[in-house]
């Protein structure tokens, strides 16, 4: 773990690289066709979801199978605020993450009392309760038919404009997350992952820290959920099913859970592979599963970790 942590801290992608990536992202709509631009929008949203899940998995060291439920809370909160209560787009977009954070605080309060396997299973149970509620509460959520025709403002209707909107929201969220994680709070969080008993003896209330992390993670995944609902104009109960949480885990693991940008790289790779492989074969889940198995056995630190390790080794030699 310590070695992996070292890899995570090494700076493969410095500030220069971040600026270059952002400039390229801003220019993409002039280069890419509509189909690919939608994929990139999807990547951005998935990257945000991955970052949020990575707060729990990478920084907290716990597996969650319940984040799909919170993602769906974000989507449905956004959709229902607009459709049932007639709240304007911008306000719904702002309120949805807060509603998700409240849901996350409730769920998290129970979950953080448990560790490893029990934590994973309890988060899954809560996620599935959310799924079951959405699936069977026809009068409000329209059950398994989902909700359609979520209105979005005229100026965001085209693919490039929604892309820019997503880019701004995701970038701002990522910066906020990075700032939070660079603070002493982030350091304590990592310490808890490495040895929670010791941190507890140091007088830190481990449970409260984990609870706060869970709530923060819910807030950010709520943003991702609301963005996705606005992107597709529709929401479905499948958003909450626990296998969707697996998708988030894949994104986190593929990119590398010990670096902040790992999930972003993971989501780019995930959506790209999804698009390319499904063009050749219908057996995309098989490929995905194989990638996961290989990652856990061979590349623990994901793509970013793998690259940083190479860089680290070279640095040692010089």
């Amino acid at each position: 773990m310590e070695y992996l942590n070292k890899i995570g801290r090494s700076r493969v992608f410095g500030w220069g690289a971040i600026v270059v990536v952002l400039v390229v992202m801003c220019l993409l709509p002039f280069v890419l066709s509509g189909g690919w631009l939608s994929s990139v929008t999807e990547m951005l949203i998935l990257a945000l979801a991955g970052l949020a899940v990575n707060l729990i998995v990478g920084y907290g060291g716990m597996v969650t199978f319940g984040h799909a439920g919170l993602y769906a809370v974000g989507s449905y909160a956004f959709a229902l605020l607009e459709l049932s209560l007639g709240v304007p787009f911008a306000i719904a977009m702002i309120l949805a993450p807060f509603i998700t954070a409240i849901a996350g605080a409730v769920v998290g309060w129970f979950c953080v009392r448990l560790t490893s396997h029990y934590f994973a299973l309890l988060t899954m149970a809560f996620g599935m309760i959310i799924w079951a509620i959405i699936n069977s509460w026809y009068s409000v959520t329209n059950g398994d038919n989902g909700l359609f025709g979520i209105p979005i403002p005229e100026m965001l209707k085209s693919i490039p404009s929604y892309y820019y909107f997503t880019l701004i929201v995701v970038t701002v969220s990522a910066i906020i997350m990075k700032v939070i994680l660079s603070s002493p709070y982030g350091v304590i969080l990592r310490a808890i992952r490495e040895n929670s008993t010791r941190v507890n003896f140091l007088g830190v209330n481990v449970r409260n820290y984990k609870w706060l992390t869970f709530t923060l993670s819910a807030f950010f995944i709520g943003i991702a959920g609301a963005l996705f609902a606005g992107f597709t104009n529709s929401v479905f109960p499948q958003f909450a099913y626990w296998t969707k949480s697996g998708e988030f885990l894949v994104v986190v693991l593929l990119g590398g859970m010990f670096s902040f940008i790992g999930p972003m790289v993971g989501s780019v790779l995930f959506v790209f592979l999804d698009k390319v492989i499904t063009a050749y074969t219908v057996y995309w889940p098989f490929v995905l599963g194989m990638i996961l198995i290989l990652c856990t056995i061979l590349f623990r630190a994901g793509i970013v970790g793998f690259i940083s390790e190479k860089v680290l080794r070279q640095g040692d030699r010089q």
């Binding site: 773990m1 998995v57 060291g61 716990m62 597996v63 129970f110 009392r113 448990l114 560790t115 490893s116 396997h117 029990y118 994973a120 299973l121 309890l122 899954m124 149970a125 809560f126 599935m128 309760i129 079951a132 509620i133 699936n135 069977s136 929670s196 507890n200 481990v206 449970r207 099913y241 626990w242 296998t243 697996g246 885990l249 693991l253 057996y283 889940p285 098989f286 995905l288 599963g289 194989m290 990638i291 996961l292 198995i293 990652c295 856990t296 056995i297 623990r300």
Partner: protein, 296 residues
């Protein structure tokens, strides 16, 4: 009143069928310390193999003969497959953190489910019920489906067999010792790796047997793995990891909660099992029959 009794019998039989699958999960968890998220996928393999033997390999043979053969063949074949999986990919991650183990078995679940899709397609199949198990068993005013009674019988048999194996035989003693202290077993000269392989195969045997037994009642098709896995998790968590007797009790409880929930509160029926699990975990995080654990 009759309705309630019939509903109870159906709930109990669902519970026993779930118990078979969940007991496999318990055995694997207590000996390998790995939470097998691919367990549902192995259940699905059992179901498909049962269908394959009954409807395709032995299609000319009456179900009365082919079904028992299919049960055994499905469980044995799936267990062998499980052995191969254990040797090739589970073994390298014994010492890993639970995080990696869970993600690995999660990936494995994807792979196996897709292999099933490759072999058997996206269709839903039905398996012919053998005539001696079809139809109702009439007891007074009660019409109990024979197959439900059969499931209860098989479940009880499996439970007693497991109990005897674990408590009365040398194999059981070795398995229990491995559960208690892997390193000491290793130091005493036992090959813990092979014991783990055996335990994994036993767990998969039970999962696929459960799948094969469920095949004539439910249709066989994609998606049955995720559904059964979630139920198994509920059973295991409610019971507390590591207790086979506890798994039996909580599986039956879950079956009853489900079958009566559908009568009394049909609107929230799908959420009932999860609410049941959450309540237990909040009151007793280590499960009804587990040992108290550290909770921070």
């Amino acid at each position: 009143m009759d309705l309630y009794i019939m509903q109870a019998v159906s709930g109990v039989s669902v519970g026993f069928s779930l118990f078979m699958v969940a007991s496999g999960l318990v055995i694997i968890f207590s000996i390998l310390q790995v939470l097998n998220i691919a367990h549902g996928a192995f259940y699905m393999v059992g179901s498909y193999l049962c269908f394959w033997v009954v409807q395709i390999i032995l299609s000319g043979v009456p179900a009365n003969i082919s079904f028992p053969i299919a049960l055994i063949a499905a469980a044995v074949l799936a267990a062998l497959f499980g052995g191969v999986v254990e040797l090739s990919i589970i073994r390298p991650i014994y010492k890993s953190e639970p995080l990696y183990q869970m993600i690995l078995t999660f990936g494995l679940a994807y792979v196996i489910a897709d292999l099933c899709r490759f072999l058997w397609g996206m269709n839903f199949y039905t398996v012919t019920m053998p005539t001696f198990l079809a139809g109702p068993l009439v007891v007074g005013n009660l019409y109990l489906p024979k197959y439900n009674v059969f499931l209860i019988g098989v479940g009880l048999f499996i439970y007693i067999a497991l109990l005897l194996i674990f408590n009365k035989t040398k194999v059981g003693m070795i398995l229990r010792a491995t559960t208690t202290d892997r390193e000491m077993m290793n130091a005493l000269g036992w090959n813990v790796k092979w014991i783990s392989t055996f335990a994994f195969m036993l767990g998969i045997f039970l999962a696929s047997l459960g799948g094969a037994l469920a095949a004539p009642m439910n249709s066989v098709g994609p998606g049955i793995d995720a559904a059964v896995l979630v139920n198994c998790f509920i059973v295991v968590v409610v019971a507390g990891f590591g207790s086979i007797g506890g798994a039996l009790v909580s599986a039956i409880l879950l079956g009853l909660v489900n079958s009566f929930g559908i009568i009394f509160i049909p609107r929230v029926a799908t959420a009932i099992p999860f609410i049941f699990m959450v309540i237990v975990l909040i009151v007793r995080p280590w499960g009804l029959f587990g040992k108290p654990i550290r909770t921070w």
